[in-house]
C-alpha cells in the first residue's frame, strides 16, 4: 500500500497567514508599536520603504560590535570574519532568487543596479568600437538605429537610465503602452519589438497600478527579438516567490529597504555569460587584477562590478531580512498581501468619488492601491490620513509618464506588507471615506 502525498495536501499543511499571526509578526517590528498624532500607527507605505524587524537591526549591530573590517583584504581575524559573513550574505541572496553566487552583485539599490547595466552597455559600445575586451561585446553594443524598449508604467528608476542610454548611444527609446485597466498591451509590444531591439526593460509589478506583468510572455517577445531582458523586481522580490532562472531574464534588480532591510543595499542579478564580458560601470579598488600606469585588468563578476569598499553591514542585514521572509514563507506572504490588496480595492471602489488605478476588484494585483479622490488633492488626502495615524504615499510615486497617461498629476497610494492586518486596511478605508466631507467636496 503506497501512501500518496499530493502537492495540494502539502499546501494545506502550511496554514495561510491570518491576523493572529500578523499580530505576532508585528512584535518583531519596534517602530510599528508607536502612536502617531495620538493614534496607533497604521503603516501603509511599505511600497516606498519597509520597516525592519529586530533580527535585521541586530544583525547590523552585531556586525559592528563583533566583526567590522574591510572585506577581501587584510590577513587579520576580523577581516577574515567580515569577508565570510559578507560572502555568506551574497549566497543567501543568490539562493533567495534562484541565482548563482557569481551572478549576484551588490548595489546600493535598484536604481544603482539599473544604472550599472545601462552604463556597462554603453561602455560595451565604446569597447567594441575600439576592439577592447571580448569579441561578444560587438553583439551587445548599442548604436543609432537600435531600439531600447520600456513600458508606460515604469518607475523613473527603470526609465531615466534607458532614456540616458538612448541619448549616449543614439538609440531610440520606445514604450509598450498600457490599456485603461492598467495591463500592458502585449499585441502592441509584439509590433514594437524587432531585431533592432537591444534592450527590453520592464517592471515585474507596478508600484502604482499594482499590476503583475506577464513576465513569461514578455521574455518570449524579448528572446524572439534577440534583446536583453531587464526586470525591475522592486515590488515583487519583497512580496512573492521569485526565481530569476525560471523567469529567464538577463538582469534583475531589487532594493533591500523595500524588503525589511536597511537603506543602502540592493542586488543586481545578471546571467553569468553576460556579467563575464560586460565592461565595468564604476572602477577603482577591489575590482582589478593587474594595474599599470596605462590601464587595468578587471576581476570577473561579481567583484568586477563592486568597486570600492562595500556596504558590508547592510549586506549582512539584508541576508537577515531574507531569512525572516523565507521563514515566514513568501508564498504565504504573497497570498496574505493579495487578500489585503483586494480588501483595499473593494473598499475604495465602494466610496463615492474615489477612482482606483489599475486592475478592478477581483482582478489580480499586489497588496497596494493608488487612487484619486475627486476634488481633493493627494497631498491633502495624505495629510488627513496622517492626522489619524495612517501613513500613505502621495505624489506621482516616481512615475510621472504613467500619471500623465492616466490624466493625473498626483495620487494617494496605500501599500501593505506582511505586518499589516485587515484592521489596518479597514482603518484606512474608514478614514478615506471621511476625506471629501472634511474638505467640503
Amino acid at each position: 500500500m503506497a501512501l500518496v502525498t499530493t502537492p495540494a495536501t502539502l499546501e494545506r499543511a502550511v496554514p495561510a497567514m491570518d491576523n493572529a499571526e500578523v499580530l505576532r509578526i508585528r512584535n518583531d517590528f519596534p517602530v510599528l508599536g508607536q502612536l502617531v498624532n495620538g493614534q496607533p500607527l497604521v503603516y501603509l507605505d511599505s511600497g516606498a520603504t519597509s520597516q525592519n524587524p529586530l533580527s535585521v537591526i541586530e544583525a547590523e549591530q552585531e556586525f559592528y560590535e563583533q566583526r567590522n573590517a574591510a572585506v577581501h583584504r587584510g590577513a587579520h581575524h576580523l577581516a577574515v570574519e567580515a569577508t565570510e559573513v559578507f560572502e555568506d550574505a551574497r549566497q543567501t541572496l543568490a539562493d533567495f532568487i534562484g541565482a548563482d553566487y557569481a551572478e549576484t552583485v551588490w548595489a546600493s539599490n535598484a536604481t544603482e543596479g539599473l544604472n550599472l547595466v545601462s552604463y556597462a552597455l554603453s561602455n560595451a559600445s565604446l569597447w567594441a568600437a575600439q576592439g577592447r575586451g571580448d569579441a561578444r561585446l560587438k553583439d551587445l553594443a548599442i548604436g543609432p538605429g537600435d531600439q531600447i524598449v520600456v513600458t508606460e508604467m515604469e518607475h523613473h528608476a527603470n526609465l531615466i537610465p534607458w532614456q540616458e542610454l538612448a541619448f549616449r548611444t543614439g538609440a531610440t527609446l520606445r514604450y509598450i503602452p498600457i490599456d485603461d485597466a492598467g495591463a500592458l498591451r502585449l499585441d502592441v509590444a509584439a509590433e514594437i519589438l524587432g531585431r533592432k531591439t537591444k534592450v527590453l526593460a520592464f517592471t515585474h509589478a507596478s508600484n502604482v497600478l499594482g499590476t503583475i506583468n506577464p513576465v513569461h510572455e514578455l521574455v518570449a517577445l524579448g528572446r524572439q527579438a534577440g534583446a536583453l531582458v531587464v526586470l525591475d523586481a522592486c515590488q515583487s522580490a519583497p512580496h512573492l516567490p521569485l526565481n530569476v532562472k525560471e523567469l529567464d531574464v538577463d538582469f534583475a534588480v531589487f532594493s533591500g529597504h523595500k524588503m525589511l532591510a536597511p537603506t543602502g543595499i540592493g542586488v543586481l542579478y545578471g546571467k553569468q555569460d553576460l556579467l563575464d564580458v560586460l565592461p565595468p560601470f564604476l572602477t577603482g579598488g577591489s575590482m582589478i587584477t593587474t594595474v599599470t600606469m596605462e590601464r587595468a585588468e578587471f576581476l570577473p563578476a561579481p567583484q568586477r562590478f563592486e568597486a570600492g569598499t562595500q556596504r558590508i553591514s547592510q549586506a549582512v542585514a539584508l541576508a537577515a531580512a531574507v531569512n525572516y521572509l523565507t521563514e515566514t514563507g513568501l508564498d504565504r506572504v504573497h497570498r496574505w498581501e493579495s487578500e489585503l490588496g483586494q480588501r483595499m480595492v473593494a473598499g475604495l471602489e465602494s466610496i463615492p468619488g474615489i477612482r482606483v488605478l489599475g486592475p478592478a476588484a477581483g482582478q489580480e494585483r499586489i497588496g497596494l492601491a493608488a487612487f484619486d479622490v475627486d476634488g481633493v488633492h493627494a497631498h491633502d488626502v495624505g495629510q488627513f490620513l496622517d492626522s489619524r495615524g495612517i501613513a500613505v504615499r502621495v505624489g506621482h510615486h516616481c512615475a510621472q509618464p504613467l500619471h500623465r497617461r492616466l490624466g493625473l498629476t498626483a495620487t494617494t497610494r496605500a501599500s501593505a506588507y506582511l505586518y499589516n492586518t485587515t484592521d489596518d486596511i479597514d482603518a484606512f478605508l474608514e478614514s478615506v471615506a471621511g476625506v471629501r466631507s472634511y474638505f467640503r467636496v
Binding site: V376, H377, A378, H379, D380, Q383, F384, S387, V394, G395, H396, H403, T409, A410, Y438, F439, R440
Partner: protein
Amino acid sequence: MSLDQLYQQIILDHSKVRHGSGLSGLAAPAGASTGQSHQLNPVCGDEVTLRVAVESGKVAQISWDGAGCSISMASASVLSELAEGMTVDELHGVIGTFREVLRSRGKVHADPEILGDAAAFEGVARYAARVKCAMISWVAAEDALNQAA
C-alpha cells in the same frame, strides 16, 4: 496640533474661491510693465504661473493659473487679494514676512495686521512637508515682481 489648525476655514474657502485665478482673457492694463513666473514643486506636482502688472510703482493687477493642493491654491488666492494696490516695496516686504513665518517651524507668529488672511497659514509652518505648498505662489510673485521692475 490638530488638522483644523492647519486647514483653517479661511484656507478651505480660499482654495475653492481662488481669487485672481485665470490668466487668459485678462489683459494687463495698458502701459503697465509685467512680469510672469512659473513655479513647480516636483515632489507633488503643484504648479503655479503668476503674472503681476506694475504701474507707477504699484501692483495694478495680479493673476494666476495653477493646479495643486488646497494649501497651494488657497495661498495663491490670499496673495492675490492681499497684493493688489500695494506698492512694489510693500509687497516685497510682505513676501519676506510671510517667508519668515513659514520657515520658522512655528516659532514666529503671523501678524494679521501685516499679513491679513495670509496669517491663517501660520499653522503650515509646523508641517515641514507643506511649507513649499504655501510658498509656491509667493516665490512666483517675487520672481514676477523682479521681472516687472
